[in-house]
């Protein structure tokens, strides 16, 4: 189960190993689902959730009890829709009406779909879709309205793309098309989730008034996936990188994968990453609007993973050769850091932003723009968590003019000379008094030569070496005590 290479890796990255252990051993879910109270069909739904989603099922299952089932069903419904859209073995005439009416099928008792191709990995979900419909009936009508609305809009968006022959042959054309595609498959999910959170009273309703924030949440995740999966997608004959971007760097999309075009491919990936990075501050802003811990974790963990993935993809030519991923250890560390508070998530964003900034290459055509995008994230984080206190007290201090400054300088100069004169006066006085006293003593017949000799001797006794000096001093001190 544990490969030799990963043993080697963690031997040299004990910090990451520690994160894995910490997460597995010490992480307590905010809320735990109670399987004993669940119906058989709901248990089956959770079984499908585990099967269909690797990254999301863990965070969904820790959600607040009010949201647990609605969000899980929301996920399964969209997964079902996606499985139909993805399947190229279903003819368009059959596919389109299902995509466009999926929201109504959700209320059709016992509806299942068995015509997916045998290779479609999530086909079993649709084969037993009746369990999802069964549970969907039981949730609050307010939630149903939201899920149906998003399903309808997403299904129609997907149907439009499926109908668009040009899109099927050439992939995404403009950046606008690219963002529209991401809107259908991810931006709408952001909107749906936000409406569910607000409905449950677990997020700030203001989030609904700033639709660009929830849009960015979805866009950021989706765009990172599209950047990371470039190799996988081209192998499956899919293209999501917009022509508007890649055509600036290479003539044909396939040229990106030629080894001799390494520099151009990197420049192209940088531009994709730049487009994505410009959304990062919106995501942090959005996270600030969440009230409940499990909802925060649900939203923050994927975002942290996304910025970390963006960092590994930046200036990394491997994305054109293989699937680049963050390590399991890093993922666990990110989960630890993203399941606490906004400050720690901001630290994560700052860390990866700085790493991206460090790798930014002056030869890259978007060098300055990437640097500015990094600066924007730094400024945003600074605006919600200031690292510096405003200096105090100086506002009242009057500004000095040149004359005042000159005056002050002159005063200081004057003070300095005053001090010098004073010291000189004291020194001169002392010298005069001392020398006149000595002169008087000399006149009176003082023998300075003898005095000097004696002084020298006594000093020698005081500081001189050997115990003699000590002994001579000791009795004298005894004597003085008598």
């Amino acid at each position: 189960m544990v490969s030799a290479s990963s043993v080697g890796y963690y031997l040299f990255h004990p910090q990451e190993l520690r994160s894995i252990i910490q997460w597995k051993v010490w992480h307590n879910p905010v809320h735990e689902r109670d399987e004993t109270k669940e119906s058989e069909t709901l248990q089956r739904c959770f079984h499908f959730l585990d099967l269909t989603s690797r990254s999301f099922s863990a965070v969904i299952k820790e959600l607040h009890p009010d949201l647990l089932v609605p969000v899980a069903l929301f996920y399964l419904v969209l997964r079902g829709l996606d499985t139909i859209e993805d399947d190229m073995t279903i003819p368009l005439e059959k596919k389109e009406p299902i995509l466009r009416n999926f929201q109504d099928l959700l209320e059709k008792d016992g509806w299942t779909f068995t015509e997916n191709g045998p290779n479609e990995k999530d086909r079993q979900l649709l084969v037993e879709f009746n369990v999802v419909i069964e549970e969907f009936k039981k949730i609050k009508p307010e939630y149903k309205v939201i899920i149906k609305d998003i399903t309808k809009r997403m299904g129609n968006g997907m149907a439009d793309y499926a109908n668009n022959a040009e899109h099927n042959i050439n992939g995404v054309n403009t950046i606008k098309d690219y963002e529209l595609y991401c809107h259908y498959v991810a931006g709408l999910v952001g909107e749906g989730c936000t409406r569910l959170f607000v409905e449950a009273g677990l997020a700030n309703p203001v989030l609904l008034k700033r639709p660009e924030l929830m849009e960015s949440m979805g866009q950021f995740l989706q765009q990172v996936n599209i950047i990371r999966d470039i190799k996988e997608d081209i192998d499956d004959k899919r293209r999501f990188w917009p022509k508007e971007i890649w055509s600036k760097h290479v003539a044909k999309f396939e040229d990106l994968f030629e080894p001799e075009n390494k520099e151009k491919a990197l420049a192209c990936s940088s531009e994709m990453i730049l487009t994505c990075l410009n959304r990062a501050d919106d995501c942090l802003y959005y996270l600030a609007g969440l009230k409940e811990q499990s909802v925060f974790n649900f939203c923050a963990i994927p975002q942290s993973m996304a910025i970390a993935t963006l960092d590994v993809c930046f200036q990394n030519h491997d994305i054109f050769k293989k699937n680049v991923k963050i390590t399991k250890g890093q993922a666990c560390q990110l989960m630890l850091e993203s399941s606490q508070n906004l400050k720690l998530v901001c630290d994560v964003f700052q860390r990866f932003t700085r790493s991206i900034h460090k790798k930014n290459n002056p030869h890259d055509p978007n060098f300055l723009k990437i640097s500015i995008a990094c600066g924007k994230i730094e400024q945003f984080i600074e605006s919600i968590f200031p690292s510096q206190k405003k200096p105090e007290g100086a506002a009242g201090v009057p500004v000095m003019t040149a004359e005042e400054a000159a005056k002050k300088k002159a005063e200081e100069q004057e003070a300095k000379w005053d001090m010098i004169y004073m010291i000189m006066a004291v020194v001169i006085t002392l010298v005069v008094i001392t020398s006149s006293m000595l002169f008087v003593a000399w006149l009176a017949g003082a023998r300075f030569d003898l005095a000097f000799g004696q002084a020298k001797q006594q000093l020698g006794e005081l500081f001189g070496s050997g115990s003699d000096a000590k002994n001579t001093i000791a009795p004298s001190s005894d004597h003085s005590e008598l």
Partner: protein, 351 residues
């Protein structure tokens, strides 16, 4: 509808002429320009604008001009900005104070005398930033000024105070604190960085090279002035207030330099990182060397600190009250400014 009369001091200068252009584009202003210089080649003049030559140090000149023009609003852009190492010294700063402070006092007096309704003053981010060795992260207008160490910063702070304290309900004033401005013909930003190339100064990174810095494109500053005039004219919410005006795109200082050099197809051949402390001593040494040789370099202690400190502000107040939005993005601004400079160099080479 009659046009609102606006008088622009320094209207033939780098920023002034751009403000005149922005005012004319609104088509609601009648513009008089007062400047010590006639419109120079390259800055362009406008046929509908009246140009008057006057020295702002002469109150009597100003009195005459203002009485004649009878402006409703005055935009005061005149200021001296010592270039190079002089910027960081106090010696020889008398003309700086004279023009920046006394000149401003004269303009305020003349404006009030002629019955103008308001005055917009071009201030500078240095009223906050010229406290050398101090970092400023996302500072806003509530941060205290007056802790300054350069003649320029001090003189601008004093002038700004003078203008804002003159604000009354009949005579509304505001100050726009612009970040270092770049644009065609700018002298302090593009040209200064260009000179580093030939001096071989580009490989040296002082400090850790991650400090963020603000800049602003000249037409964005001009837009802010027009918005300020309109605000004083209409709601007056800006009266008595100071605003930071930047491009709102703080960028790592080193990256900005690299981006400018890149426009001249220059990439530092190698990079050497010098710790800030060492850089300070080097600057000190170079100052002595240039004193001995009488030549001036880009390097000096002030410039070192200017290049290694973090200095960026929030422009949300200007966005909120003035509805200011920087139209020309920084990447575009660098391209335009350098392109213009390159053409000038080419023209010079031909001559």
């Amino acid at each position: 509808m009659s046009l609102t009369k606006v008088l622009v001091t320094g209207g033939t200068g780098f920023l002034g002429s751009e403000i005149v252009k922005a005012l004319l584009e609104e088509k609601t202003f009648e513009v008089t320009v007062v400047d010590i210089n006639p419109p120079s080649l390259g800055t362009g003049s406008f046929s509908t604008v009246r140009y008057v030559r006057a020295n702002i140090m002469s109150p009597s000149d100003l009195h005459e001009v203002f009485q004649e023009a009878k402006p409703a609003f005055v935009i005061h852009t005149v200021g001296v900005y010592p270039l190079g190492p002089k910027r960081y010294k106090r010696e020889g700063s008398d003309p700086v104070f004279a023009i920046n402070v006394e000149g401003t006092r004269n303009i305020v007096e003349a404006s009030k005398e002629c019955g103008a309704r308001g005055l917009v003053f071009t201030s500078s981010v240095t009223v906050l930033f010229d406290e050398m060795g101090m970092d400023f992260r996302n500072a806003d207008e509530t941060w205290p000024t007056g802790r300054l160490q350069t003649a320029y910063g001090e003189s601008k702070a004093e002038a700004e105070k003078l203008v804002l304290s003159a604000n009354t309900s009949d005579f509304k004033t505001c100050a726009l604190r612009a970040a270092p401005i770049l644009g065609p013909n700018d002298v302090a930003t593009t040209a200064a960085l260009y000179r580093c190339i030939n001096r071989g100064e580009t490989p040296f990174i002082i400090g850790d090279g991650t400090n963020l810095f603000d800049f602003v494109y000249v037409s964005n500053v001009a837009d802010a002035h027009v918005l300020a005039v309109q605000n004083l004219f209409m709601s007056g919410a800006a009266a008595g207030e100071a605003f930071f005006i930047t491009n709102g795109e703080p960028v790592v200082f080193r990256d900005f330099c690299l981006a400018v050099w890149k426009e001249f197809d220059h990439y530092p051949p190698f990079q050497i990182t010098i710790p800030t402390r060492l850089g300070w001593w080097l600057g000190w040494g170079v100052e002595w060397a240039s004193w001995l040789t009488g030549r001036e370099g880009t390097f000096c202690r002030g410039a070192i600190l200017d290049a290694t400190d973090t200095r960026y502000v929030s422009i949300s107040k200007a966005r909120r009250i003035l509805r200011y939005e920087p139209k020309v993005k920084l990447s575009e601004a660098v391209r335009i400014s350098c392109q213009h400079f390159k053409e000038q160099l080419k023209a010079q080479a031909k001559r």
